[in-house]
Subunit: 409 residues, 2 copies
């Protein structure tokens, strides 16, 4: 019997911002992530017992490691509070959630702050793309390759094409839904990118080729951003609820989680998955683990999904890997409008990564925060009606590390 871990709310920075242009760095971003979370959850700094930071590569983008050291630097009441940083490329926010919840389940602490964070608009796009290559096997998959990740995720599409067939129109529709949903999200990177009333993704700069089968619209954009969220033990949450005249049962929990790591190299993944019905079987397994731990029979027990659409191909993959369709039939869910904002199972009501932005280490935490907002009815214009349980899927590398969660009441 595992001790429950509750979510008490948190904060997301505006993913459209460019912090360097504001003269601000990652320390200021940590500061805002902390103060915003305290305000949102109506907690005091002195109540936090431990902080976990999810970050991919501040060493490269910001020439700064050891981010945990900044908590006590920005607020003396954190002095002595234990901190650590966790990394699994674009799943860094997800593993930070896992480490924070493990320490609570182990009974070490009652209130943890998780901060997913990345400042990326510090270098030009080519250098940034090269840095991202360190999330793959750099020597073998990225060195000397311009923008390695779009190429890797184009190959995910190639694999679908080979096994099941894949039409460009379905990827385009995934992009369209994400950009469209992002317009409802006041913190989304792209919310005002389309000044006219129509989303023109079929021509112009968004339709330009990016890599392989992917066009610009198929790719999420890196950005600057942080998302923070409080995780708490049952004891703490009971007192927290009492002080606010809430019932414990009204507060959401991590109902289940899955964590799996596949071989680093995309070639190895695909070679290995040859006999599996799913193209990325370990990603599938992480989802299955999360639903099993949550005691949910299938994907229809959740009212929405926040998935890792670093590219449209990864969302296309997620659709069948979540079991919304049979393997290879993700297109059916797209055509039937199932994943639309007002569909049977909305995917990325927030706009996801393509619409919302992808500050790499923040994404897993941002997904958890969006799940929290949905299940507590605080998602504003992108609120899913009747959302009680939301599934999240956070992926690092070319499908290498997967962290899946079910968050809800």
């Amino acid at each position: 019997m595992t001790a429950p871990v509750y979510l008490l709310g948190g904060y997301q920075t505006d993913f459209a911002r460019n912090w360097m242009k504001e003269g601000k760095g990652i320390v200021e971003m940590i500061q805002e992530a902390v103060s915003g979370a305290l305000t949102a959850a109506r907690l005091e700094a002195r109540e936090i017992e431990v902080a976990h930071i999810g970050n991919f590569a501040a060493e490269l983008y910001c020439k700064q490691g050891h981010l945990g050291g900044f908590l006590a630097q920005i607020d003396p009441s954190f002095s002595g509070m234990p901190t650590s940083r966790h990394e699994a490329a674009c799943a860094s926010g997800g593993v930070a959630m896992l480490m924070a919840s493990a320490e609570i389940e182990a009974g070490r602490y009652d209130l943890a702050l998780v901060i997913g964070i990345e400042q990326m608009k510090t270098v030009d796009p080519a250098v940034g793309g090269d840095f991202l290559g360190t999330a793959a096997w750099y020597e073998q998959e990225a060195k000397g390759i311009e923008f390695p990740f779009p190429k890797l995720f184009s190959r995910l599409g190639d694999e679908y094409e080979k096994r099941f067939g894949l039409k460009e129109e379905h990827l385009a529709r995934i992009a369209e839904i994400n950009f469209s949903n992002a317009r409802r999200n006041p913190l989304a990177q792209t919310r005002s990118w389309f000044t006219n009333e129509t989303l023109d993704l079929a021509s112009g700069k968004y339709a330009k080729p990016a890599a392989g089968r992917l066009r610009v619209r198929d790719c999420s954009q890196i950005t600057d951003g942080a998302a923070s969220i409080f995780l708490a033990s049952e004891n703490f949450t009971r007192q927290y609820a009492d002080r606010r005249s809430l019932k414990l049962e009204q507060l959401p929990r991590i109902l289940g989680w899955g964590h799996r790591t596949a071989p680093m190299k995309f070639d190895t993944k695909i070679f290995e998955s040859g006999n599996s019905p799913c193209v990325l079987p370990h990603t599938r397994q992480a989802i299955v683990d999360a639903f099993r731990r949550a005691g949910l029979a299938d994907v229809w027990r959740v009212q929405g999904i926040e998935t890792h659409d670093c590219f449209t191909t990864s969302e296309y993959m997620a659709i069948d890997h979540f079991g919304i369709t049979k393997p290879g039939e993700s297109w059916k869910a797209i055509e039937e409008g199932i994943i639309d904002f007002d569909g049977r199972l909305p995917v990325n009501a927030s706009g996801g990564l393509i619409g919302g932005g992808h500050p790499v280490g923040a994404t897993g935490t941002r997904q958890a925060l969006d799940a929290f907002k949905q299940v507590t009815g605080q998602a504003g214009d992108y609120q899913i009606d009747g959302a009680q349980k939301i599934a999240t899927l956070n992926i690092g590398g070319s499908g290498t590390t997967t962290v899946a969660m079910v968050i809800g009441i």
Copy 2:
């Protein structure tokens, strides 16, 4: 009541090696850390359920992130096994130990492999020193400063000088003990640095000024290296012991741990500690926490210490922070021979960081492995007679993140 976490053994690479000169990289180092640990602990790859990697900055030194992705790459039986990487500068190995043990305490897994790892001999010393600056507040404490860390730890000595007085001869003796102990350790970086029979630290290159009050002999040297260790639940350990005709009680555990984080900036630390009897009160607190959790009244209940002597000043600090002497009186323990290899409480029987080498992210795990070796009587020529409990102290940054442990039977 916390679930116990056992140590089943592990492996250390030879810290005198230069992997780049051997034509090998960090992937080969992970491979050796894994296979060596499996052999040492007589376990099969398929038994490992989760892997945690402690690493400071492979992004900088090796242009490679997402190290957890290499486990399944090097052995297909790891495919799908969850992995993550943890960082707190030079305490990265320590936080990886904490995260692995948290997941076991939480009941998530029964057998975890922890790998502390760093390949650093990939860049010239000036660049490497600059990279290390990201363990401090780079912009404010390291940028444009040649070798920032010796300067910061010289200032730790300055603070001792100011508060209590500090003699160079005592720092020199700390260096001498570590270099001398290292000669007994077949994996120590410096074991054959002194070709004649005498350790000449008082003249020649080892006596050259390094930074501030520190000479070359006062500084540990970065190197390439990995240390891996298995952590296991009581259930797993019971079966493990049965299969080997051992008793559960013969196998060592993490008896207690402490984890504290101070403000990043050295100035802030010193300003804040003004009213504390200890110069680094949060480091002191981490030690106190570890002994309290272990149920040990004082430092005399352990038979040895593996401490973080990145510089002689940090070991000088550790002596009084462990409570071997009153604050400021570390020199007494040095003069009385207490910390000598054959003293009442040997410190760094392994040679520590100064004698053994400091592959940054590996150090915390290497300390735990040396503690395991001591308490199971496998430390060979550097075995402490009758060692049943060993304390470890792993420090990241200028005393920023501290992980302390008591390991024993």
